[in-house]
């Protein structure tokens, strides 16, 4: 294994950690707002780390571009849909969790 391989393993594992943390947060957090917070971390940062890790193994710049495009689209869709869900929840009067 070369240095690039080690680096990409590192990034992939870091991405997996974010996804795991996001999933645990989604299952364990008390209300819709905090759950969205956990979910978007997994989607945005976790997927970003996976994309970096995979891009190091890509065979061509075209596939690097495809990976980045996927990340960009997920960022866009994730941010927008979380915003819409949170806004709708606020409108319907879902209370924010207080300790």
């Amino acid at each position: 294994m070369t240095l690039i391989d080690y680096l990409s393993v590192l990034f992939l594992l870091a991405g997996a950690v974010f996804f795991l943390a996001g999933t645990v947060g989604l299952l364990r957090f008390p209300d819709v707002y905090t759950r969205l917070h956990a979910l978007t971390k997994a989607d945005n940062v976790g997927l970003g780390l996976l994309v970096i890790g995979l891009a190091m193994q890509a065979e061509s710049y075209a596939s690097v571009g495809q990976l980045l495009l996927i990340w960009f689209l997920v960022l866009l869709a994730g941010a927008s849909s979380s915003h819409l869900i949170a806004k709708r929840a606020l409108q319907r009067g879902v209370r924010m969790w207080r300790r």
Binding site: L73, L76, A77, S80, H83, L84, K87
Partner: protein, 314 residues
């Protein structure tokens, strides 16, 4: 390599068990909304299963139509149900005995299917050799497209007809358009502005690439239809001057092109939908392009449910 194949086995088992579990939850969750969300998750996992089975064409169709657009249609139907029934309609618990009566034939079907699978040769070739031998005459190099748009093109004709009939059925219900959802939502607006050109581009790519790689009319149509659904969600409506004849022409374009080609082939001395191999690829492209437009328009119209008004007085 040993560890890698073990990992693949694990992933396959996870997908299979996950599918069965999700299917169970879809059928037995008391809340309709939860069942719909689970159904969408089921569709996405099913697409993954098709990828693992090396059927990217089916995976694309499942993700776009099965999970995406069917999910959107179910959600819009759910919204309509909630609006129209002021009193929460209680779901009557079906008598246990009927469930068990249904279980017996289902069990027989499962046993029969299992028996049929056990009779198969380990690596059945089916008709794939026949398709591979005749692929040069079909006008395309993707075997799936060759089957769907040439060898068994009447299947696709009937599929397009079924979609069209479904829309006629929905329109004949005369459902009024709901007022909810027409308020402008800035974030959704921006998202739609970014995604719509991209979706149109992807649809065009899928349509074109279908000749030699996974893709085709239904995949392209559902991606284009998704753009329509997004536009409708963002509050866009078809301008009145387009909602009359132009809309109807687009809706029937796919089906009528299929029928026109079929009739032309018969008049030309051939059989129903039998293409001369020299012009097959052009015919397939025309059929697929019009079918894509019609499928997209029909799917978006199904999502809107109410018929777009084309005169000012309605």
């Amino acid at each position: 390599m040993e560890a890698l194949s073990l990992l693949q086995w694990l992933i396959d088992i996870l997908i299979g068990v996950g599918l069965l579990w999700l299917a169970w939850r879809v059928l037995f969750s008391p809340e309709l909304f939860k069942a719909i969300v689970l159904f969408i998750a089921f569709g996405l996992l099913m697409a993954l299963a098709w990828v693992r089975l090396q059927a990217p064409d089916v995976a694309l169709a499942e993700a776009a139509i099965g999970a995406g657009l069917t999910g959107a249609l179910l959600l819009s139907a759910w919204m309509k149900l909630r609006e129209e029934s002021t009193q929460q309609f209680e779901q009557k618990r079906k008598r246990q005995i009927f469930v068990w009566l249904l279980a017996i034939p289902l069990l027989l079907i499962i046993v029969g299917l299992g028996y049929a699978i056990s009779l198969l040769t380990p690596y059945p070739t089916g008709l794939s050799t026949a398709v591979a031998e005749n692929i040069d005459a079909s006008g395309v190099s993707n075997p799936v497209t060759a089957v769907l748009l040439n060898f068994r093109v009447y299947d696709t004709l009937l599929e397009v007809a079924v979609l069209f009939l479904a829309l006629l059925g929905v329109w004949s219900l005369e459902i009024r358009e709901s007022a909810i959802g027409s308020e402008p939502e800035p974030v959704l607006d921006v998202l739609t502005r970014v995604l719509t050109p991209l979706l149109v581009l992807v649809a065009a790519y899928l349509l074109w690439v279908g000749a030699h790689a996974p893709g085709g009319a239904f995949q392209a149509g559902s991606v284009l239809g998704a753009a329509g659904v997004l536009l409708i969600l963002a509050g866009w409506r078809l301008p009145h001057r387009l909602a009359g004849l132009p809309l109807r022409i687009t809706l029937v374009a796919g089906l009528s092109t299929f029928i026109a080609v079929a009739v032309l082939m018969i008049l030309g001395g051939g059989r129903l939908l039998e293409f001369p191999s020299s012009q097959a690829s052009q015919i397939i492209l025309i059929l697929e392009a019009t079918a894509t437009l019609s499928i997209a328009t029909i799917l978006a119209a199904l999502f809107l449910t109410s018929r777009p008004s084309h005169s000012e007085k309605t």
